[in-house]
Point group: C2
Chain length 307, copies 2
């Protein structure tokens, strides 16, 4: 028999998990479907800006959030959603990749965003063979090796800092002439002795035989446009995960973010969105902003279901 | 000598404290000025919807948030702001009630909201003599007594539940015919044996001699329009604290909330607002929404100061 819900929450990052906590406290029958419990937060080393926690790592935070969500008896299903269809009665049918099928009165899309690709030759070829989008996931394999990080944001600079403790040598390669990470991260990085920052430079190509061996730069650095590396971490931001919702007909903006009202409602009746995938929160992608959007959406869904 | 800041944060609730954490991590020189560190959260008994914490009380949460804020060396000044003036150079001069004077490049208003009054005879007269707006602050004085709670929201229902453990008898008086609190709270309340809920009824008057003795209702309950009480807790919502900003000329909406853009900017250049005092977050007043608005505003201030 198909399970029926008040709201099916698609995505298990901070937006989805916090939405579930709020939904459960409102007494709404809800389920969370997401490939990775915790979403991209699982890839975060140190979280320094979650109010009340001076220092908590991504894994620990996610464990606490999952425990909180499950404490109401809510199921978090480790799968993805293949299809969402609106039925004639105005409800939704949800088909999961694992074969399960749900019915729901409302949908909350909180599928977040994924790592942006560099789009250079060798990037696809050497993925998992030296190329990675997550230093905290794969950094461990580069103990006493030489690695490069691409980017200048909080993620890139904190990844460089993380790798400086593990690797022998770290190059941070950024296309602009000034890092745009928090001053906190930049100051910490500047104290790391095994880090060299290469400004105003792009990675043009990734080369190797069976695995990554070197990268080519579009600028000369210390007399050469080539750097020998064992690993390259690409940390250049995110793009929204909108594959699933393409056929739902939701309006998106020119950067592929789902357009939402202040209450989280999308342009389709019965469908809300929250977190990094939306145009909300001034597109400031933080755990706190995603969690807040999840709460606001559920409050609005609760009012909608009452009617 | 006057102290100079990048941003003066007015208000020490979740919006102000989280704004300070973000500002400090961006390396912005900041100070928090607020009468009550933690703001209205200090009056919350149980917080059940702060992601990752299954159960934390208001006091404990505030202590952790203050400690986090101060861990960057930031000062939280227990005072209020008397005046904010824009100088000719486009900076601000801030005069505190304690006599201190600051200069700042930007201002973040996060003064939140205060308890709404019933507006009935006796309310003012018996304030502190039986009338209270905060069960967790004053409930302790009503051990084994009979108390009334006015309201039907999360605050009112959780206050009734809190008082049911302390008082002998609790009346919850609500003007509508159905509580609008979270199902979680309503279910818990229904299990409390010493609580009676009086629906579709208003408190018309508060009477007594030296202290509150009884209330008058606008409907007959169990044969009478009078209830003998030792205490009455009024929990009927909040109104924004806008006294300070009246002379700044910020645009407010018809409910006195400060109008903000998605980035927290107000209608005055150099002034941002965050938390319960704003039109943001669909006016859903939660710790998580206030904290999120504080983070978004600082991110925007950081971009503004870079230019």
């Amino acid at each position: 028999m198909e399970k029926k819900y008040d709201v099916v929450i698609v995505g298990a990052g901070p937006a989805g998990l916090n939405a579930s906590v709020y939904a459960s406290r409102y007494g709404l029958k809800n389920v969370v479907v997401g490939e990775i419990s915790g979403g991209l937060v699982t890839q975060t080393t140190e979280i320094g800006n979650w109010l009340g926690e001076k220092n908590i790592n991504g894994f620990e935070f996610v464990q606490k959030a999952i425990e909180h969500t499950k404490s109401f008896g809510t199921e978090i299903i480790a799968s993805s959603v293949d299809q969402i269809k609106k039925t004639e009665e105005g409800n939704f049918e949800i088909l999961l990749a694992n074969g399960e099928k749900f019915k729901s009165k409302t949908i909350l899309i909180a599928t977040g965003s994924k790592h942006r690709k560099l789009g250079v030759p060798g990037e696809k070829e050497f993925l998992g063979k030296g190329v990675s989008y997550c230093a905290t996931c794969d950094g461990f394999f580069y103990r006493e090796k030489t690695v490069g990080i691409v980017g200048g944001s909080d993620s890139a600079v904190s990844a460089a800092l993380y790798m400086s403790d593990i690797a022998k040598k770290v190059y941070l390669i950024y296309r602009k002439d000034k890092l745009r990470a928090e001053t906190f991260w930049v100051n910490s990085l500047e104290k790391a002795k095994n880090v060299e920052i290469i400004y105003s430079t792009n990675v043009k190509e990734i080369k190797g035989k069976d695995k990554l061996e070197k990268i080519l730069l579009d600028n000369i650095y210390k007399g050469s446009t080539e750097i020998k590396l064992d690993g390259l971490f690409i940390e250049i931001g995110f793009t929204p995960n909108i594959e699933l919702i393409k056929n739902l007909g939701l309006e998106i903006d020119n950067e592929n973010y789902i357009k939402i009202e202040q209450n989280g409602q999308t342009t389709i009746n019965g469908v809300w969105a929250a977190g990094d995938i939306t145009t909300g929160s001034n597109k400031f992608k933080q755990i706190i902003t995603a969690a807040s959007e999840g709460a606001i959406a559920i409050n609005s869904i609760q009012n909608y279901l009452k009617k």
